[in-house]
Homo-oligomer: 411 residues x 2
């Protein structure tokens, strides 16, 4: 097959006249690789989605992370329907809010309390404010190139941002403990917190795991300087470990933020934290028009239960490893050298001698035309609905794409 994208294009033409830039959000390939991928989705099931032109794809993006158990997962949908039958949004929270907070604080070792939001940024920004409230300090350290959300203190774009938004945000380099130490020494007694992701997952680049001693060093310096550790587990949470990604890449956070996979697609985010921050947390303003939405809390509760019951992180690791080793082998057979990047549950691939990602873009484009979605600029996501058959089918399609890339780039 070769995908027809006529209806995607027609909708896009309507969109550009009523939506700034036609589309926003994490559809970056639309801007950089026009119509290499579909623009609009029609339906999804398991590990596949169908676009508005009727093309069906084996999907390795999982809605950019939220789909952990698979699209339209029966037990998650049943939990949603059950809560929704009663109502869902009221003047007050429902019982499930307390149950979800109890479950998270039981599951996550350091967590004594939990709060909930609707976006990842709701939580990273709120956690930063809790750190400022608790310490009475203004400054926050983050890793250069790390993504912590849409808010002006951190987003990757200068649009509409003023210098005051970022005046007290300072950067250091991933896996470079001395650059962290330098910043700590530059602002003695002024740093409220460091915000970290479990591994480094910048856009347009490969995953980088925490190197030997990096997290241990940060922990030691933070402990010595009363700097709080905030783990931004928005993208990784519950994919790498059932009890939070700090159990996979050891560090002891004071707060962790979750979102994405938490409700298997239902809109919910959460921050959990240690007891000593509870007073500060109670003082930082937190609400929202839909803050008491019981349906998303019910799906999160069921999802977090299933992650442990079904041993999801191990399953994703096995599936992702099969995919990545299969792709490496297929590339080698085509005479190409590629490197698969861990963690396998959220893998990525790079081509040797591909500084501008042209090979990667061409590879992804061919795969999309043949019914498999690999993102050229962003880590991928494995779900529990990926079968070994789907992965082997994807590898087979990728094999042909590797052949084509080898022939195009060698000529």
């Amino acid at each position: 097959m070769s995908s027809n994208r006529q209806k995607s294009l027609e909708l896009y033409e309507r969109a550009v006249s009523v939506i700034p830039a036609g589309v926003y959000g994490h559809t970056s390939p639309a801007a950089t690789l026009p119509i290499a991928f579909p623009y609009y989705a029609e339906s999804a099931e398991g590990c596949t989605f169908t676009d508005v032109d009727g093309n069906r794809y084996i999907d390795f993006m999982c809605a950019y992370g939220p789909i952990l158990l698979g699209y339209n997962h029966p037990e998650i949908e049943a939990a949603a329907r059950e809560e929704k039958a009663r109502g869902g949004l009221y003047n007050h929270p429902a019982k499930v809010m307390v149950e979800l907070a109890e479950l998270l604080t039981e599951r996550i070792d350091f967590a004594d309390w939990a709060v909930f939001g609707k976006n990842g940024s709701d939580m990273t920004t709120w956690a930063l404010q809790v750190a400022r409230q608790h310490t009475g300090r203004k400054k926050v350290l983050t890793v250069k190139g790390a993504y912590h959300g849409v808010d002006a203190w951190t987003n990757p774009s200068p649009g509409g941002v003023i210098e005051e938004d970022r005046l007290h945000i300072h950067h250091f380099s991933w896996n470079d403990l001395s650059s962290f130490e330098q910043q700590v020494n530059r602002y003695p007694g002024e740093i409220a917190a460091v915000m970290l992701t479990p591994f480094h997952h910048p856009a347009f680049a490969a995953n980088v795991l925490p190197g030997e001693g990096f997290f241990e060093g940060i922990q030691k310096i933070c402990n010595a300087n009363d700097i709080l550790i905030i783990l931004d587990d928005i993208r990784c949470g519950f994919r790498l470990h059932e009890a939070g990604s700090h159990k996979r890449f050891p560090i002891e956070p004071d707060m962790s933020c979750y979102c994405k996979a938490l409700g298997n697609g239902y809109p919910i985010s959460a921050t959990v934290g240690k007891d000593h921050l509870q007073a500060a947390a109670g003082k930082v303003f937190l609400t929202g028009s839909y803050w008491s939405d019981a349906v998303s809390m019910a799906t999160a509760k069921r999802c977090v239960e299933l992650v442990a019951e079904l041993n999801i992180p191990e399953k994703l690791n096995t599936l992702g490893k099969r995919l990545i080793t299969g792709l490496e082998e297929a590339a080698a057979n085509a005479g190409l050298k590629v490197t698969g990047h861990e963690p396998y549950a959220m893998p990525y691939l790079t081509f040797e001698d591909d500084p501008d990602l042209r090979k990667m873009q061409r590879f992804s484009e061919i795969c999309a035309n043949e019914g498999v979605i690999f993102h050229p600029h962003h880590n991928w996501f494995i779900s529990a609905a990926h079968t070994t058959e789907a992965i082997d089918d994807a590898i087979e399609i990728a094999s042909k794409a590797f052949q084509a890339v080898a022939s195009e780039f060698n000529s």
Copy 2:
């Protein structure tokens, strides 16, 4: 009946050990008037909800605004189910995103484009950034005591806020054009925008409508100084006028922000704007883990359609007027003087000689015990599911509460 709140209390006791302060969000009466109202809801239907102890209430809060057509409205739920049956959250938006943007830009006179978020604050903060991007100016004027969301530049609490967050936010007084003019003259060429609500709806105080000439004066000064007008229509939108609240209280915004009633309880917010801001809008970062959620967009589309088809704002006005005139009469019969505050679709009531709101609090508490929810500190909300019978039942219960208040406060 007199409400038992045993299960609310039991859940609250569990909550305080896993949620900072036990509860957050817009449940302020929980802090100021312990257990005068229920803490947890179990189910809702039409214009009533039932708490976890099985007490059923005629509700005049509508989940603090989102419930416009009534809890569990059949046509909204059908729209949600239809979209959900296909999937809902994908790598890409669904067709309904384009359709919703088309509908809003058609319905709202000045609107040439639309974008969507999940919280009201997503949109007020983003609109502020678009104004800064477009004008290259930093400063934004807001009304003293106005609520524009949870973000640090505007929220009503000092917790975790640093001075830089609010350095370029300046205030003026509602209905005081000279105080607005003063700020404009103080910062010539530095003000990007003014953010206004359609009427003033501070907490712990009565609604205040825009006075004669106030909006006209602001419009004139803004036009003369290239200051953008952002209408924060989050709380009022689609309750006061089918085409935006600026049609009820005339002003010509450059951007308007909607949320609350937009999806009848499904989590969605929107900003619409004029053509000349489209380029700036395309440059200000905007996304979220659930930004492409098609289910909430489908409910918003159906809800906005129904608002016009069923003439909802007029219906709410008639129902609210019946409630408020009935309450005024019942109070007078009890020898109390109260004042009902417009707009009737979002009314509020104050007692004469009640500076600390003690009478209002006692009145609300008695009504809640007897099965009617009137908030003591926040404007109320009428929904299209309120029947004249429900309103008359509420007035009857209120009559007894007025008698009790009269007797308690006169002794």
